[in-house]
Symmetry: C2
Subunit: 280 residues, 2 copies
């Protein structure tokens, strides 16, 4: 099998490693707008060879792992270059805009909109890790627009990676991830910003940071090139989510101001349910 | 050495394990308002024997590891019961209220106000883990009010645990932890609440939760009995911190609404500094 990867960062590089582990005889081609990333991906052995957009007709599968604003620009061109049996899929965190953008593309049937629930706070080819995709949930959207044979090819790969497939329409996907993923990033980034602004003396942050702060602020290390366009593409859903979050913060603030032990305690107690939900 | 532990939960139970590892010949006594916790602590071998408040005069060191509102009630009684050389220290997350409450206690010199930067989101004796205190930062407040000989006894124990001692006045301590610890808990609890309210179908949370959501919402699993009184005791500082957090959330929301890519990206980029700060 021949795989072409557009974007040799965390998501593309890690996919290369996992793909090689399930198809050891495959040949992996790569392309990145950064020469440095391309060279690093070659050095690390993530990819076997470089490729150009024009040469994509020679591969069987194309993974697009670039920021979601760049996907809107590049995916139409990529779909123009592939042959009729090629599977093209992306791993972006927003799905409605890309599905809308490709709706009338003559090769729409070659494309599968996917969102694997996988990632870390790091970025670039050096962040590539083996196993990132293994055993993860993988949302696929609007599968009826993908050629069934090509969709099956995708399923075979995802099955080899032991991924759990969840079908969703792209609009619902974007609503849900606004809450479960994008709001987490906003809350973490703004926590980091608030603490950095307050603690001019950074030593205080370091000395006082327990593991609690570290895990809550972890996502604030994430790549701005990845997350800025995600926030903007999911603006409508995300703004609603932020408003509800702010409203909850105002509510708990009032309870604290009023020394309302019992309501405060009961809210924390209800929210403890997240423990059971996440370990289901 | 004889150690008495008041409160046999995560902090007390874990201290028992670490204390036994540095003083294998020590004898550890325990007391908890819950009979069930006492029995469990005995079963787990966290403590050797139960003890009553009245019997505390026979131990060399007393650790108070109970919710901070209970500490205000119990610490004066505990200090009444100990002998003149006994070290009594607490591990609560607020320091000004307890220091104020004990200011004129006749045995104030036996007490050391401490806050080890250690913990997990779990609670109760079953949550006790070995190594929780090892190599951690440990804030000590108002050490001038502790008898120097007794303070040295504390330092010897903390040194054996390889803890890094940071001296701070209790007022500054409470300001800093409002940002670096308490606000993290608020942000995490409210993220959990917002997502649970939105996702009536809990399966969506589970399916869509990547490791990002899990780490950001981890602290929302924390004990309400521990955290409700912390939030209330640190009300003034915490309300300010929540206000600044909300103001930052409103700011980023506006940038998203205005499609302001460059400012949004530059804010995320500046906040990425947390990466360097936390790995210093």
């Amino acid at each position: 099998m021949k795989l072409g990867i557009i974007g040799l960062g965390l998501m593309g590089g890690s996919f290369a490693l996992d793909f090689k582990s399930i198809y050891p005889k495959s040949k992996i081609f790569g392309l990145d707008k950064s020469k440095k990333n391309e060279n690093r991906a070659l050095e690390l052995g993530l990819i076997d060879e470089l490729i150009t957009l024009e040469q994509l007709s020679k591969v069987d599968v194309v993974l697009v792992a670039i920021p979601v604003d760049k996907s809107l620009e590049e995916l139409p061109k990529i779909l123009n270059s592939v042959n009729k049996d090629t599977l093209v899929f992306d791993v972006g965190s927003t799905k409605l805009p890309i599905c809308e953008a490709l709706l009338n593309h003559p090769n729409r049937k070659n494309f599968l909109a996917t969102h694997p629930m996988a990632g870390t706070e790091f970025s670039g080819p050096n962040a590539a890790v083996e196993g990132l995709y293994l055993n993860k949930n993988n949302i696929v959207c609007e599968i009826e627009k993908t050629n069934p044979k090509i969709y099956k090819k995708a399923l075979r790969i995802f099955k080899m990676l032991n991924m759990n497939i969840i079908k969703m329409d792209s609009k619902s996907h974007d609503v849900h991830v606004a809450y479960v993923s994008h709001l987490s990033h906003i809350s973490s980034f703004m926590l980091g910003k608030t603490v950095i602004e307050k603690e001019k003396n950074e030593k205080n942050i370091f000395d006082l940071a327990g593991s609690g702060f570290e895990s809550t602020v972890r996502l604030a290390k994430s790549s701005p090139a990845t997350w800025t366009p995600i926030f903007l593409q999911n603006k409508n859903n995300l703004v609603l989510a932020i408003n509800e979050y702010i409203s909850n913060l105002n509510q708990i603030k009032e309870m604290i101001e009023e020394n309302n032990y019992s309501t405060l305690s009961s809210i924390l107690n209800n929210t403890n349910r997240i423990k059971q939900i996440l370990t289901k």
